[in-house]
């Protein structure tokens, strides 16, 4: 299996290469350049030209591309024009925040969705099942930003239970217990919002898997052994129904990264998503290109992760 994983990583290289070319070319076609915001119509054109020359923006594209890739390999993504600091370390900092937010979201998502999906499937057609279905439709119908704004307004401002922006209060020293608790405190509201929106798919999927599994031949065989029904559920029906959900985790994480763009922006949470939006607005090329590369890489990683999880939980699948 290790061999396969290494090979999958190697296959990623050409994929990332193509992605980087596309990103680079698109960045070239983007209107304006990083100085557009920093200069005024009165600025001397010679001065602009000088800046462009100095930053290598007048070189042929393949030279610029070569330089960019070469640097990227050393973790150098250039300077952020807006933040006036190295894009790599800036993104790294934000990525850590996003990682914790995503992790919290995934945990809350599954803690909510698995019991609901299991109950709905187990007591299929009951009142409970209908209530869960209703919930999942409602949560599906609400757009992300509406729910986020509602939560922010209600729990953040009206009730004042949760902070309304940021990832940690400055009064705490990094590494202390208070610091960690404060971080978690900041994450809870955006993570719950995100989790609720993600529950629909998991609940519906799990529910239909369970209803489907109930009618399977192997469940009939299990019943024919005369074992208690709760064991038939736990050992046979749930085990088999959770399988596709487990495989889904990789993609869920990738999806969360994309979704975090809205959540982070609305909750003022300093993560990758928020950085992405702000760098697009300020045409911060080096940050945009680096972030798109990173998102692309994470998407590939997510699908690999799904395959690995699948091969661990399902004995029929061996990744070759």
């Amino acid at each position: 299996m290790w061999k396969t994983i290494v090979r999958r990583f190697l296959i990623m290289i050409p994929q990332l290469f193509v992605l980087s070319l596309i990103i680079f070319i698109m960045a070239q076609f983007m209107p304006g350049d990083p100085f557009t915001g920093a200069i005024t119509p009165e600025t001397d054109p010679a001065r602009i030209e000088e800046l462009r020359e100095k930053n290598g923006l007048n070189d042929p594209w393949y030279q610029q591309y070569g330089r960019w890739v070469g640097n990227a390999f050393q973790g150098e993504f250039g300077m952020s024009y807006t933040f006036k600091r190295d894009a790599g370390s800036l993104i790294g900092e934000r990525a850590v925040n996003t990682f914790w937010l995503s992790l919290a979201s995934v945990i809350i998502l599954y803690v909510l969705a698995i019991p609901l999906g299991v109950l709905a499937g187990r007591y299929h057609n009951s009142l409970l099942d209908r209530a869960i279905i209703l919930y999942s439709f409602v949560s599906y119908a609400i757009p992300t930003f509406i729910l986020a704004l509602l939560f922010l307004f209600f729990f953040g401002y009206t009730l004042g239970w949760f902070p309304t922006s940021g990832s940690v209060d400055i009064k705490y020293d990094p590494g202390t217990f208070g610091y960690i608790m404060n971080k978690i405190y900041h994450i809870l509201l955006p993570a719950t919002t995100y989790a609720i929106l993600g529950t629909t798919t998991v609940i519906q999927y799990l529910r239909s898997e369970i209803i489907d599994a109930k009618g399977q031949d192997y469940v009939r065989t299990a019943r024919s052994k005369g074992i208690p029904m709760r064991k038939v559920y736990s050992r046979h029906i749930f085990r088999n129904s959770l399988l596709p959900i487990a495989a889904f985790i990789g993609f869920t994480i990738t999806g969360l990264l994309g979704g975090s763009i809205f959540i982070e922006t609305i909750f003022g949470y300093p993560g990758m998503g928020q950085l992405f939006i702000s760098s697009i607005l300020s045409r911060d090329y080096s940050v945009i290109t680096a972030l798109v590369m990173l998102y692309g890489f994470l998407a590939l990683l997510g699908s690999l992760l799904s395959d690995i999880i699948m091969s661990i939980v399902d004995p029929r699948i061996r990744i070759e």
Binding site: Y218, T221, R223, S224, K225, G226, I227, R235, R239, N240
Partner: protein
């Protein structure tokens, strides 16, 4: 036939499925007896209610959508009225079941050994070690080479024939008195079929269990069964020992299973065929004979209004007396002419 004690007595069993608001009986008034040491075959076209009968005996139907009426007497208990929980003391322990499709009947995520062991956990007081020894013993008994390895394997690593052996091992793990085999060889190659049937016969000789063997294959019946019940549209239409049934099939439906075309004393031979197919559950005629529409060339006067099983010789039951109106190619025609003339 080895005569011995009666194990299971089914009396006027009706099993109906709820479709919309009404129940439709797929098993409609079946009475049968299973004895120790015998293989009772149940034959009939697909859709005639064989599997429904089997699942009623072992209580494997969906209780919300199925209605079981009548008696299935086992050790003075009526299984037809038993709750799901009580049934768990009988299923697996007293009655084992073998299923048609070995490819889907095993849990794909569970090791073979674990699946065989499951029943032992609830029906024996064996400790883990003893249970595992029993698993290996069972795998050995059903003719699986290298039991230690197979016990650790997953279903997809085994062939269809091997999986069916595993299912048989599960069914016999607690030495049940009754084994129900629902088309156990239908999904297998011919050579494997023969091996599985041999295995069933061997097991029966060893354990003395009563086996209900469901099949639509008369070849299988001839090979292994002691007695045969022929089912049509939820009812038993003929019941006899295997020798008697093959030598002397009476009901036109049984005859049609043997591929011999029943004929009447009529000039027009072409009309004398069994028409159509088994009607669907909702369209079954609930009064009168449900077979009559398929032999429209038989005159009205020949039908009984509510045809009953008649014992025409010892142990040989035929529904209705219609068989008296048929003769078959190569049989003495005079006798039948006479019978028909008396009508």
């Amino acid at each position: 036939m080895r005569t011995s004690e009666e194990l299971l007595k089914i009396r006027d069993l009706h099993t109906g499925f709820r479709i919309g608001d009404a129940y439709f009986d797929a098993v409609d008034g079946v009475s049968l007896t299973l004895r120790e040491n015998e293989i009772l075959a149940i034959v009939g076209e697909s859709g005639c209610g064989k599997s429904t009968l089997a699942t009623s005996i072992i209580g494997l139907h969906d209780h919300n959508k199925t209605r079981v009426q009548g008696e299935i007497l086992y050790k003075d208990k009526n299984l037809a009225k038993m709750t799901e929980d009580d049934f768990n003391d009988i299923r697996g322990l007293e009655i084992g079941m073998i299923f048609q499709d070995p490819l889907s009947a095993l849990n794909p995520l569970m090791r073979i050994g674990e699946q065989i062991e499951e029943g032992l956990i609830y029906h024996t007081d064996f400790n883990k070690e003893k249970r595992q020894a029993r698993v290996l013993e069972l795998l050995n008994q059903v003719g699986i080479p290298n039991p230690e390895r197979v016990a650790r394997q997953f279903p997809h690593q085994l062939s269809g024939g091997m999986r069916q052996r595993v299912i048989i091992a599960i069914a016999i793990s607690c030495k049940p008195k009754i084994i129900i085999a629902d088309e156990p060889t239908t999904a297998l190659d011919v050579t494997i079929q023969a091996q599985i049937l041999d295995l069933l016969i061997d097991l029966q000789k060893e354990t003395g269990a009563g086996i209900i063997l469901i099949t639509h294959d008369l070849g299988v019946v001839a090979e292994v069964a002691d007695r045969v019940a022929v089912m049509y549209a939820g009812q038993i239409i003929e019941l006899a020992s295997v020798e008697e049934l093959f030598a002397n099939p009476k009901h036109p439906y049984t005859r049609s299973l043997f591929n011999s075309i029943p004929q009447m004393n009529s000039e027009n031979e072409k009309l004398n065929v069994i028409e159509g197919i088994v009607p669907s559950l909702m369209k079954l005629p609930r009064h009168g004979c449900r077979f009559a529409p398929r032999i429209s060339w038989v005159p009205e006067s020949a039908h009984e209004t509510e045809p009953q099983l008649h014992e025409i010789s010892e142990g040989h039951f035929v529904r209705c007396s219609c068989h008296e109106h048929f003769y078959f190619k190569g049989e003495k025609e005079d006798k039948h002419h006479e019978l028909y003339a008396n009508q």
